[in-house]
Symmetry: C2
């Protein structure tokens, strides 16, 4: 593909209208991509049809000339694609909730996957078999049918899946993408510090969902001290006045404490994570995240289900024939940078995008084949990850912990070794006996919708 | 110092006669070091005097011409030294036993320090304040009074202390030394495989006490398959017939299982460690280590105290004026390679010594300033660490776990941050509540002999 030519973008898991409604806005604004093709793929025909109709309608209203297609056949979507955006999350929130329930019955508060620096619900690293499997099969298809395509992994867990695909499909052009770090930086600098985000420059690095702010500038001047000043002078008032909402944990007391402890400010979902210090039980979570206890507490989870149902109502409005979608959802940048990446890498103007890429020495002390989340200068086929300085404590006390969980997760998935899962729990503070660990895993595996995972781990 | 010149060797913590009785043999055999000076230093005058008299007597009997001196003043010992061997273990086994007892009362089986890949008793990484402090002050003295000397850390925990000194005293020539890996290789190849160790070549690598056999040759031919054959054909019989004795854990079922799990055979104290799979309780330990449950079980600990009292009786015989020490303890190589290192690094013949040295890329994926245990070609002032291939599972599932414990240990020691110790326990499967963790640490710190440590962590 030459610079500036139309491209084909395949979206796997396109039944998610909330994702599509971000994407359509960015595509509508990206006039230099007009003439390109978007092929939506989902295994659920009715959800697929809904996303397809919405996208067609939105582009028509916005005068955005894209060719939109749909298919339930992954191979069809992938064939001749230049970009494959994988947002497929086949595990589903309902089923994930059921797994958490079973795990809690066995004493595993917030599910088997909740562990140090991975306290984010639905970031299913041990029970994420279906997500891993979907990504692996998609990568197989891309390798075969569109070997030059960029594979953009956007479904969680991004850290695990991008590293997995990098190792198992070494010829594939894999990147992981998550909006969390830039969104966290925006939340911190606008809501807390009151800055104009257009004039903010920042650098952050780490692993996906374990990413810390290393530099902050405002109008060209160093501005990290503004964070300290906010914490000293205004944060206490802010915490008294405001209830930290779901996905606003970057502004929580936990985030402030992580900054104090590790020397750099945690961004986005990083602040939802950390050690058991912040997550031991609901009371502990409320101490650090306010009344909701964060979006990953039992309160946060219930609220999340409610918010999701509200969002579906809004989506129903968007797709109604009598409603102008571009009025309800004006074409403004969504905050997702997947389209920015596509523009930059196809020679439509270089820019910096936060991506998960093979480390290869970018973060010292981390193996070459681990995917790290860093700012990447993207310019016509070339990706130049920036070396960002992380604090000693982050390099020594945070990254190795998160790294080990990722390695255990991939090892268990690749080998199908159930003992690997048991040992994960033997290291877990919620485990009081080896039997408890084994029973919990057996019951989670025996859930009807986990049949494939159970077979995999019985090998 | 020029090649071949006499040297001054300072021994810190020389009151340990069991160590001195190894050293005298190696020195007696090292004729090319004759004319050198050995200065013994200990804070306990009577134990120091005993080691001094014994060494004088042994050298006289053996016709080994060394000048032997003693002092209770560390600065005096260190001044003008070419080598400082630090075996000081001021924490003491009795006190360590008391700390374990208090920890067990709070639910921490085998002490606060027992943790994944650090299940070795008296490898005190969190409660090792006095050992860290002694090494740091010794390093200060060496930096000031003998800046060109080699500092050889031999007191446990070697991994933690050598890394600590490397970071805090970057100009000092620090190496860590432990006989464990070569001794483990010898035990495996002679006792299990029945080979002649003179014809065995091997390579191993990792961190101290987390070290794995990557290559094995016999009479020039690859011989790793002999390990597999022993395990398949003879090991079951061996385990039925033999009781695995203290420090023989390299031959245990646990070692065999670690080999199967991680792909390379664990050597020496590595086999005493591993995950909670092998250490959950006495019953678990006995399953994997035989009736004693390994030297780190409660049975092993009591046996160790008994063996130590027996050893003291043998030592009493050695120092009796009417006994020829060289008859009771003939001048044969001890298995410790500290003297080999001294010979090689002073140009008395190059050789390979297993040392703990700054990583600097030797093991990929490990930070530069972490000390790794690898074979090092030592030749007249030059140390060339060998790159040894470790299995994926060791690099991914073992080293990051052990690394994190080391980093937490150093961070807590350097910052005096008690919360760091509490968080260590919040990640521990033996912890059932945050209060339990805090109470256990408070009571261990409140023990009378821990006064300095308590003050340090109250900063």
């Amino acid at each position: 593909m030459d610079a500036g030519e139309p491209v084909k973008i395949a979206i796997l898991g396109a039944g998610s209208l909330s994702f599509i409604s971000n994407l359509v806005r960015d595509l509508a604004l990206a006039k230099d991509l007009y003439g390109s093709t978007v092929e939506l793929m989902d295994i659920n025909p009715s959800r697929l049809e809904r996303s397809y109709s919405f996208m067609k309608k939105y582009f028509a209203e916005a005068g955005a000339s894209y060719s939109v297609e749909m298919t339930t056949d992954r191979a069809q979507a992938v064939r001749e694609a230049d970009f494959v955006l994988n947002i497929a999350f086949p595990i589903g929130y309902d089923n994930y909730g059921k797994m958490m329930e079973v795990a809690e019955k066995h004493g595993y508060y917030r599910g088997l996957d909740a562990t140090e620096w991975n306290m984010v619900n639905v970031y299913a690293i041990y029970t994420g078999y279906e997500v891993f499997e979907a990504a692996m099969r998609a990568a197989d298809d891309v390798e075969e049918l569109a070997p030059d395509a960029w594979f953009v992994q956007m479904a969680n867990p991004v850290f695990e899946v991008s590293t997995l695909l990098g190792r198992t499909h070494p010829k594939l052009k894999v990147v992981g993408y998550c909006h969390g770090a830039p969104e966290g930086a925006k939340l911190l600098t606008t809501r807390a510090l009151g800055l104009d985000f257009d004039d903010v420059e920042f650098k952050a690095a780490g692993f996906n969902h374990t990413v810390f702010l290393s530099e902050l500038k405002y109008r060209g001047e160093d501005a990290y001290h503004l964070v300290d000043e906010w914490l000293e002078q205004k944060a206490e008032d802010f915490w008294k006045r405001e209830v930290i909402g779901p996905w606003e944990e970057t502004l929580s007391k936990a985030a402030a404490d992580m900054y104090k402890t590790y020397g750099q400010y945690p961004l986005g979902d990083t602040a939802r994570s950390g050690t058991w210090k912040y997550h031991w039980d609901l009371k502990t979570k409320q101490k650090w995240y306010g009344p909701l206890g964060g979006v990953d507490s039992e309160i946060g989870w219930a609220l999340r289900l409610y918010l999701r149902s509200q969002e579906e109502k809004r989506e129903d409005v968007l797709v109604r024939p009598d409603v102008r979608a571009t009025e309800k959802l004006p074409p403004q940048k969504s905050g997702e940078a997947a389209i920015d990446f596509i523009q930059a890498v196809t020679g439509r103007g270089k820019r910096v995008v936060y991506l998960n890429v093979r480390n290869d020495g970018v973060i010292p002390g981390v193996a070459a084949d681990v995917f790290v989340e860093v700012p990447v200068q993207v310019d016509e086929g070339k990706l130049e990850p920036e070396r960002v300085a992380l604090s000693d404590r982050i390099r020594r006390l945070v990254l190795p912990v998160r790294l080990e969980k990722m390695e255990r997760s991939l090892d268990a998935y690749i080998t199908g070794d159930k003992q690997g899962l048991v040992e994960v729990l033997l290291e877990d503070p919620r485990t009081n006996s080896p039997e408890q660990a084994k029973d919990a895993i057996d019951e989670v595996l025996s859930l009807p919708f986990n049949e494939n995972m159970r077979k995999h781990f019985e090998k």
